[in-house]
């Protein structure tokens, strides 16, 4: 239970940070966006840790790590190309999308 609450909290916090960061990139505030990106990545690392713990304890998959990691790698490639709007898109519609799906799944699991 504690793991689950922790995980939900971690997911929400990460999604918020992603939205904050992507907003900055959409608004062409690259410098501040990049500073936020560091916090966002740290939050994602914590999230992944919590996901692993939860998945191990519950013997279930709520987030496909391979798929998640490939999105992250893609995002970092885009970051290297300095296409910040595309980066924001990938973070918003792909990465956040995956986390949102996982969150939904988690809530369904809790209810059933």
């Amino acid at each position: 239970m504690e793991n689950k609450e922790q995980l939900i909290h971690s997911m929400k916090a990460t999604m918020e940070l992603i939205e904050e960061t992507t907003d900055l990139f959409y608004q062409q505030k690259q410098q501040v966006g990049l500073q936020n990106l560091e916090n966002m990545i740290a939050s994602i690392m914590v999230l992944l840790e919590n996901v692993q713990k939860y998945q191990m304890s519950q013997h279930t998959i709520i987030l496909e790590e391979i798929h998640f990691n490939s999105i992250l790698v893609n995002a970092m490639d885009i970051l290297a190309q300095k296409d910040y709007v595309l980066l924001a898109d990938i973070l918003t519609f792909e990465l956040n999308g995956v986390i949102e799906n996982s969150l939904r799944q988690l809530r369904v699991c809790a209810d059933s």
Binding site: T22, D23, Y26, Q27, Q28, K29, D83, V85, L86, A88, D89, I90, T92, F93
Partner: protein, 620 residues
């Protein structure tokens, strides 16, 4: 109907100025532009692709670099986020945007505007705009009436003119500037031009407001004192039909280069009109040259900058608000070229066309405007240096103290940069604009060095006289006869009665304004105590609205307005600023309104006795 047809139809209906500039009259072929393509930035390619969500994405290629102008996932989402960053903190915002793009970001800005907000768009690339007109549905943007769209090289002057016209004391702090993503890098020169334009227009507005603040009550003192000259005065449109406007009008300003033209100015007497600004009058007279007209405008110009002579009786172009001391020293005929809005109603009440003119920022621009209004089609500038000549600022070896001026470099007549001042630069811009607005007038600049005034023709005064001066010497001195004065006996009596009635109006107004102060106090107490209005709020609001209407309907209020601008400028500039809480907004609004009503009371107390006194002194 395809997008181009649809967009053109809406543009023609709602933004006809742009439609005409781009496509000309209806006899032009569809899709064909009326104006030739300007220089501008050349783009290698413009195309559109489809985003993940089905919306269109604009691409631009320049110098082999591809620029994607929108999100390729969800352009609307990106546009909405981009637009969210701008704070519209006032009730009357002016939003200025560099770039049109494909319109999607503009739409998101429009979604956030409220009914008193204005939008100005400056698109630096015509080719891009025309592409977007063909490929995108611009209905929402083009249907929006409170937007001015300006395309570089097509109607950039509209941007300058209308933005300047729209900015005033109530909204100059309410400007929000936006730059569409990637536009700064794609069009760097235009980007710089855009910011310089914004800065210049803001400075122009500040200068105008500061003039009212600084001169404040002096303007009114001058207005009322100069009423004594109304009876025998003239206006520009009265005298215009009697002038030889086929001849050149030579405006002599006070720049150092005047000394190079003294001999020719003597020869010009009787062959062209000599219109001399006040600052250079004595210098010209000292060199044996007599003007046909003298021009003055400054409300507080020291008398020594007009003349040190005891009597000057050359016809004087002046305005009611000009320095009364100069009016008194001048003993000749006065031609009023302008007056404040209240005095325009005095003329109208008398059945006389009121004098009105765009004066510009200095006495030389006044002279220029007067020449345009009089109908001259050849205007000659002498001594309009607008640059330093070494340390000298004016003819006669005068070097004005530059400690409090901002010095700038401007383009000289020889193409090099020359040292100038910020206010002179403002004059250059003014002349450039006026020349642009009056393409049928030829403006000659006779100086050989100094600041370049774009649009002028450089020519020597000698050559101008040979080409355009009268073949024989004319006598212009008898032009201003009794019969062409502005007022007849009967119309003058009407003017007097109108002004006398205004004194009575001021009594009545004072009572109502006192009541308005009480009502404001009532509401302020209520909001401070209860954080909301009371049962009388709506009733009080309606009462205040009625009082405001009463005040605004009284023409004499226009005089009071000059007075209160000086006293309450700060309050007025922030009056429409939103605060962080609704009840705070209300308190602040009532507090500021109360300040303005109290200023109106002070204005009435100042104006009423002065007007009465001056009316008693003027000739009946």
């Amino acid at each position: 109907m395809n997008y181009l047809e649809q967009n053109k139809e809406i543009m023609n209906r709602v933004h006809n100025y742009l439609y005409t500039a781009l496509y000309g009259t209806s006899s032009q072929k569809q899709g064909e532009s009326s104006t030739p393509k300007g220089k501008g930035v050349q783009l290698d390619d413009i195309f559109t692709e489809i985003a993940h969500n089905g919306e269109k994405v604009l691409y631009v290629r320049k110098d082999d670099e591809l620029c994607r102008m929108n999100s390729c996932y969800n352009p609307s989402h990106e546009a909405g986020k981009w637009a969210e960053q701008f704070e519209f903190r006032s009730l009357n915002n002016i939003v200025v945007i560099f770039g049109f793009g494909n319109g999607i970001m503009i739409e998101k800005i429009i979604d956030r505007l409220e009914m008193d907000d204005l939008l100005f768009i400056y698109e630096p690339n015509r080719e891009l705009f025309e592409y977007v007109m063909m490929e995108y549905d611009l209905m929402k943007v083009l249907s929006f009436e409170r937007v001015l769209i300006s395309i570089e090289g097509i109607n950039d002057f509209d941007f300058h003119n209308k933005l300047q016209y729209s900015m005033n004391i109530t909204n100059m702090k309410a400007q929000v500037q936006c730059v569409l993503p990637y536009y700064e890098n794609l069009f760097p020169e235009s980007y710089l031009t855009f910011w310089k334009e914004i800065r210049d227009i803001l400075m122009h507005t500040v200068i105008g407001i500061n003039t009212e603040v600084v001169f404040g009550t002096r303007l009114l003192e001058n207005d009322f004192y100069n009423l004594r000259y109304l009876k025998d005065s003239y206006t520009l449109h009265n005298i215009a039909p009697y002038l030889r406007t086929d001849l050149p009008a030579i405006i002599v300003a006070a720049g150092p280069s005047v000394k190079n033209n003294l001999e020719i100015l003597r020869k010009a007497k009787g062959r062209a009109y000599l219109i001399v600004v006040d600052r250079v009058l004595d210098y010209i007279l000292d060199h044996g040259i007599e003007p046909d007209f003298v021009v003055t405008v400054d409300p507080m110009k020291p008398i020594k900058y007009f003349t040190t002579r005891e009597h000057i009786d050359y016809p004087l172009m002046t305005e009611l608000a000009s320095n009364w001391e100069i009016s008194e020293r001048h003993t000749g005929k006065k031609i009023f070229f302008n007056c404040d809005s209240y005095f325009q109603t005095v003329y109208e009440a008398a059945g006389v066309q009121p004098p009105f003119m765009n004066t510009g920022p200095c006495v030389a621009t006044v002279a220029f405007s007067a020449c345009i209004q009089l109908g001259f089609d050849k205007i000659v500038l002498v001594g309009q240096d607008l640059a330093y000549d070494g340390e000298y600022t004016h003819v006669g070896g005068i070097a004005e103290d530059s400690a409090n001026t901002i010095n700038v470099m401007v383009e000289g007549v020889d193409g090099n940069q020359v040292p100038s001042r910020y206010d002179w630069k403002e004059f250059i811009i003014w002349f450039k604009d006026m020349i642009h607005l009056h393409p049928k007038i030829t403006v000659f600049d006779t100086k050989q060095k100094g600041a370049k005034i774009p649009g002028t023709v450089l020519k020597s005064l000698n050559e101008i006289l040979d080409l355009y001066g009268a073949a024989e010497i004319c006598d212009f001195s008898n032009t201003l006869t009794e019969s062409i004065k502005a007022f007849t006996g009967e119309s003058y009596q009407k003017a007097l009665k109108y002004m006398s009635d205004a004194c009575d109006d001021l009594y009545a107004m004072k009572k109502k304004v006192r009541k308005a102060v009480e009502l404001c106090d009532n509401q302020i107490q209520s909001y401070l105590k209860y954080k909301e209005g009371n049962k009388y709020t709506v009733e009080n609001y309606n009462k205040l609205a009625k009082i405001n209407k009463y005040i605004e309907d009284k023409k004499i209020y226009q005089i009071i307005d000059i007075y209160i601008t000086a006293l309450t400028a700060d309050d007025i500039t922030t009056m429409y600023r939103r605060s962080d809480g609704e009840h705070l907004d209300e308190v602040i609004t009532y507090q500021k309104s109360k300040s303005i009503y109290e200023a109106i009371l002070k204005g009435i107390d100042f104006i009423q006795p002065l007007l009465r006194e001056r009316l008693d002194q003027i000739p009946k």
